[in-house]
Amino acid sequence: MKRSIGIAIALSLALVSGCGSSDDTSSSSSSSTTSAPAGKITVFAAASLKKTFTELADQLKADNPGAEVVFSLAGSSDLVAQLVQGAPADVFASADAANMTKATDAGLVAGSPVNFATNTLTIVVPPGNPKHVSSFADLANEGTQLVVCAPQVPCGSATRKVEGATGTKLAPVSEESSVTDVLNKVTSGQADAGVVYVTDAASAGDKVTAIAFPESAKAVNTYPIAVLKDAGNPTLAQKFVALVTGDKGKAVLANAGFAAP
């Protein structure tokens, strides 16, 4: 019985930590011990940072031979919940200030978080814009099947904010729990229009047409990053944060559609 509990706990720990664990004995695996072994860090990052952070991690590995970066990519609120439950990680990058605040309130963050990027909302429609959407107010038009994020998730609360600021009352046919689901409903042709982040629209390429609207300035999402208190490798973690907030990071993020904070 005890054994099976142990296995169950080990399993759940493996699940919580994403796909890897940040143990301190990571240097044992490094075959090329030319310089000081750089070790391994685990980065908990919002799913929307997948592409940019993978690119930056490659840069970090090139700059620090022997360095290893393991990612756990999920919704920011999921990540915070895992961190609060004791998931081992070195760096946390959130897609909104609210979830970073949860982490700081729980005493998980070393120092103070740094804002490194912002993201704004945009309208996406299928290529060719069959419903002729040209403004945020057009989304409320009858016969336009609109999909947005639910108000409980960051992109949904941002959409709500714009609704309030513009006085437009939207009647979506679905309120999705993630921005990816909204995007998929538009790319698959299910919905006539969706509200997503600029970076999501950029990643979808020519499968969607993005329609920028000036009111998006009313709801700007800020991305903070921080080294965690329980980091197993604070030196490398600090290097990664410096890379993200530095010139290289700015260039990569701008390339993906993020704006500077």
């Binding site: 509990i5 169950a8 919940a81 639910a150 409980q152 979506p172 679905s174 999705e176 729990s177 689901d181």
Partner: protein, 243 residues
């Protein structure tokens, strides 16, 4: 231990002082009602489609029968989200049948119908497996005897076959209902999520988790209770039904 421990752990997380308020909030009640409604509807769909399927699987023998059985059981082993994607490209607006349905004025996307379709898709194998087993166990001897005694095929079906396989059909239907009630992946992918229309209880739990973890735990407990009731009901039926 592996099954019980997480449930006990969840029980410890429930905020009992707010429990009543959490599970009777407007969105929770809407989700629960929708879940019960759609699960009932999809169970009926499963019975209508599943009974003939089970009869074919149990009573006929032709080349390709095992392939057919594997195909019917496919949703059982498929991740629900894959089922949802498959449904999307079949009944979605740009799907295989989407444009035809659109012409007939039927729009499935983002409707309660889509939820029922998704649930029936994943729940159907449960009913078919359960009923086919019952039909095989019952055998055809009694039917043959009834037929030689001059009973018409419809009479045989009504008076002999149905009473024999009824326990199997019932437990199959209950399992299908339970699976429909818990459906998440296919619904989220195919039907969307809107309060009172497509947001069933599992989707509500998933969403509440983002904002109010206590509400998610409380609602999860409701689903656990429903599941326990169902399992007990099936076990009761099962032992009563064995000969």
């Amino acid at each position: 231990m592996f099954v019980i421990l997480p449930l006990v752990a969840m029980l410890g997380e429930v905020e009992w002082s707010r429990f009543g308020a959490l599970i009777t909030s407007e969105s929770s009640v809407a989700a629960l009602k929708l879940s019960l409604k759609t699960a009932t509807a999809s169970t009926i769909v499963c019975i209508v489609l599943g009974v003939p399927m089970a009869a074919v699987l149990a009573r006929s023998s032709f080349r390709g029968l095992s392939v057919l059985r594997s195909l019917i059981l496919l949703p059982l082993v498929l991740p629900p989200v894959v089922g949802g994607i498959a449904l999307l490209y079949t009944f979605g607006r740009k799907g295989l049948l989407g444009s035809e349905l659109e012409m007939l004025g039927i729009r499935i996307a983002f409707s309660t119908t889509a939820v029922v379709l998704a649930q029936a898709f994943v729940a159907l194998p449960f009913l078919v497996v359960s009923l086919e087993g019952a039909m095989r166990t019952a055998g055809q001897r009694f039917e043959a005897v009834a037929a030689t005694l001059g009973a018409r095929p419809t009479t045989v079906l009504r008076r002999v076959t149905l009473p024999l396989v009824l326990p199997g059909l019932l437990s199959g239907a209950v399992l299908a209902f339970a699976r429909s009630l818990g459906e998440f992946g296919a619904t989220l992918t195919f039907a969307g999520s809107l309060e009172g229309v497509t947001r069933t209880l599992p989707l509500e739990i998933y969403l509440q988790r983002e904002a109010d973890a206590d509400a998610a735990v409380a609602l999860s407990l409701v689903l656990v209770v429903v599941a326990v009731v169902i399992v007990v009901a099936v076990r009761g039926r099962g032992s009563a039904g064995t000969l």
